[in-house]
């Protein structure tokens, strides 16, 4: 495709198929075509809804394997899974799901050196991390640390931004549903979990609480 300027038909095929990840030539076309830009905006809106729709609440599902008489083999399998997981130390079905906030704090503590970074990263370096995670973020503050970290089976951007109030860790959680803003305190860190479209954003402070206005500015720069 390189060297060939795509037409609207070609651009819309890509936009309609995968609006989150457009090839460079299609992005270039969209930037100069009002109709395709409108189509992209519509498609991104639809995509967020489709994601929400697919993230079905699981309250109606059983917690463990089949309990019906028609599938005794599966009951045995379910039992073997539980046993295997307990042997593995997980106590899968007996433990409550670890809170998202706790996992975030634990992850941040493992990369505590990220707080000490002072030198702003280039837009290209930050962009590469965002690209790996398939998210967009226009930061109001200089980004001094950026890493695409494994988290809950995905790569997510783990960033540190320098604000007038000091460094803040920002984790962009495109695939976590955060229903409402909430503050948390885990492992000596204070943070906020904030809804952002179909996903969420975690903002953590090294010391003291996260200033709400700064967290709001950070979230406003996120686009999935």
């Amino acid at each position: 495709m390189s060297g060939v300027i795509p037409d609207c038909r070609h651009a819309r095929l890509h936009i309609g198929a995968d609006p989150q990840h457009l090839p460079a030539d299609v992005r270039a076309h969209v930037s100069g075509c009002e109709g395709c830009r409108h189509f992209l905006d519509e498609s991104l809106g639809l995509d967020a809804r489709v994601r929400r729709a697919m993230e079905l609440p699981l309250g109606q599902f059983r917690a463990t394997g089949s309990a019906t008489a028609r599938a005794p083999r599966r009951l045995a399998l379910a039992a073997s899974v539980v046993l295997a997981l307990m042997i593995g130390g997980g106590f899968w079905f007996l433990q409550a799901t670890p809170a998202l906030a706790g996992e975030i704090a634990e992850h941040v503590m493992h990369e505590a050196g990220s707080w000490d970074r002072q030198e702003p990263l280039s837009a290209a370096a930050v962009g590469e991390v965002l690209r790996q995670a398939g998210v967009q973020f226009d930061s109001s503050f200089p980004v001094v640390y950026a890493s695409a970290c494994p988290f809950r089976g995905r790569r997510i951007p783990h960033l540190v931004v320098q604000t007038p109030e000091g460094p803040l860790t920002v984790m962009l959680l495109a695939h976590e549903t955060v229903a409402a803003p909430r503050e948390f305190s885990e492992q000596g860190l204070s943070g906020m979990l904030l809804p952002a479209g179909s996903g969420g954003v975690a903002v953590l402070a090294r010391a003291g609480e996260v200033p709400g206005d700064l967290a709001g500015r950070i979230v406003s720069g996120v686009r999935w």
Binding site: A17, F39, V50, L56, L58, A71, G89, G90
Partner: protein, 174 residues
């Protein structure tokens, strides 16, 4: 206190990973099977197989696509083994499944029903992409299709959903 043996730590980390991904596995299975009981069974079998094959997973960040691939194969196997009948879209019991409306958000119920009514060839790549985080190249490899065919199927899947979302359908691609 002695540190935990390395094998235990790795197994525990793997368990935790499975636990975190289980909700999305259930969702993926549901959108594939369009039946809650079948979805639950497929997930159980997927977990068993994943547990047995856990040494194959080298990068935890690749766990999601790895598990989705296992689940997809288990789903296909279940149909082969049990010869489950295919269901006419108009007779889909899932359309009345209370799980579809259980979060009460306006408009989502219609969209969920529309996703259920998509033909398998459109629904499967869409779910792999949206829930599984697969790229079009990965979907092509998974479904043994060309990337162009995957793009077309994804385009058509979304195009059918556009109208449910209140948008005009786009001109089809060929």
């Amino acid at each position: 206190m002695n540190p935990a043996p390395r094998g235990t730590t790795v197994a525990s980390a793997f368990t935790r990973l499975l636990e975190m991904l289980r909700p999305d596995l259930l969702r993926f299975a549901y959108w594939l099977a369009r039946d809650r009981s079948i979805a639950e069974d497929v997930v159980q079998e997927t977990l068993v197989r994943a547990w047995k094959s856990r040494a194959e997973l080298k990068d935890p960040a690749a766990a999601r696509p790895w598990l989705f691939t296992i689940l997809r194969r288990e789903h296909a196997r279940l149909y082969e083994r049990k010869r489950l009948p295919t269901v006419d879209v108009d007779e889909l019991e899932a359309l009345g499944d209370p799980a579809l409306a259980s979060d009460g958000e306006a408009g989502l119920l219609d969209l969920r029903r529309a996703i259920l009514q998509l033909p398998d060839e459109y629904r499967e790549p869409l779910v792999l992409q949206v829930l599984g985080g697969h790229s079009t190249a990965e979907i092509a490899a998974e479904l043994e299709l060309t990337q162009a065919a995957v793009l077309t199927r994804l385009f058509r899947a979304r195009n059918r959903l556009r109208e449910v979302y209140g948008l005009e359908a786009a001109e089809d691609v060929e």
